[in-house]
Subunit: 218 residues, 2 copies
């Protein structure tokens, strides 16, 4: 087994286990025995458990962010070519969802697992992981937020940013526990929902939230 195999086997096992149980609930012994490698291999190749966690996120977020940036550039060029045309917000969101999804699927990464990890990063990262993600992928995130803000010139900036977090919450929360929610709905209605269908529901709903009329203050 080459060293490349060992590193990737650890990352594969850690990715699945972290998304299922969280970071502290997943021991290095569980990871290494699942991966079929020696316990010491984690500390040898990654240095520590924290650095392994960062490596798992790096492997996910780097191609994801690359796809995002590419799509944002494409949209920006298209906008400059025909500046008068107003972009539809739900179309923007849905195409972003689709592009990010397709990019992950192309690399054999499960999008639902990606969302599960993203949820972990927001709820279970006390310090080091949040700093790592912000410093590494913050610019792409701000570019996305800026382009979305430009498509909503009528919305007050502070209101927009709160709604952006509302939207992130709706997306990450519902997709990170997609399987559980889908199981409940299947039991209650007998209707199955694919991830694609759910994104097709989420995009217009999120767009409606972003474009809602401002609350009239007293």
């Amino acid at each position: 087994m080459s060293q490349l195999d060992t590193v990737n086997r650890i990352l594969d096992a850690a990715e699945v286990l972290f998304a299922e149980r969280g970071f502290t609930e997943t021991s290095l012994r569980t990871i290494t025995s699942t991966a079929g490698v020696n316990l010491a291999a984690v500390n040898y190749h990654f240095g520590s458990k924290k650095e392994l966690i960062q490596a798992v996120f790096e492997r996910f977020l780097t191609p994801f962010t690359a796809n995002l940036d590419q799509e944002l550039t494409r949209r920006q060029a298209q906008l400059e070519a025909s500046p008068g045309e107003q972009l539809e917000v739900d179309d923007l969101l849905q195409s972003l969802y689709r592009v990010a999804l397709a990019g992950l699927a192309k690399e054999g990464r499960d999008p639902k697992r990606f969302m599960g990890l993203l949820g972990l990063a927001y709820t279970q990262s006390q310090g080091h992981l949040r700093r790592f993600i912000v410093s590494r992928y913050g610019p792409s995130y701000r570019r996305f937020a800026g382009q979305l803000a430009n498509a909503l010139p009528q919305v007050d900036p502070v209101t927009f940013y709160w709604r952006l977090y509302f939207m992130l919450g709706a997306t990450i929360f519902s997709l990170s526990s997609f399987d559980a929610i889908e199981a409940i709905l299947r039991e209650d209605f007998g209707a199955e929902s694919s991830l694609e269908e759910t994104l097709a529901r989420l995009a217009p709903a999120a767009a409606a939230m972003l474009t809602a009329p401002e609350p009239k203050d007293a």
Copy 2:
């Protein structure tokens, strides 16, 4: 120190620490030393760490659910008195937010901490806590969901339930990390946001998401 004091001191300390760091990241030694009680007191009064976690949620959710039920009953009676009048969804949401919030504040409980714990329950509860909450507070939740569904007769049931989870995600996610988000917005815009103001933004945004027109399928 009476036994009632010991129990409440443990609950107070555990509540804060759980909301800050999560369950597994908070040790019983940290809880008991913060509370100023002996380590064994947790197992003596609660039996185990799992049962302590349930007790923390019980102390939060019981009065919260009582307030929720009371408000739902009030609305139902009001609806039967004047059945023709269509309820506004954002008004329904905002009054629920306000009632639940006021009930917690009346007992000296921090609503933001409550939301933090609620977020934990959704993302970090593997099994026992989820079962405990569903069995104990499931009926109230279903009653709330049913009343909300009745106010949205034009929305397809499956679409409604997905949007309900979108709304829950937006609410729990953004309010559980309210302080962090507010700090970012204060730095970027110099504009402070109170929890009340944020709820006044959230209610119409969530209502817009729930009442959005259905996506036209091919």
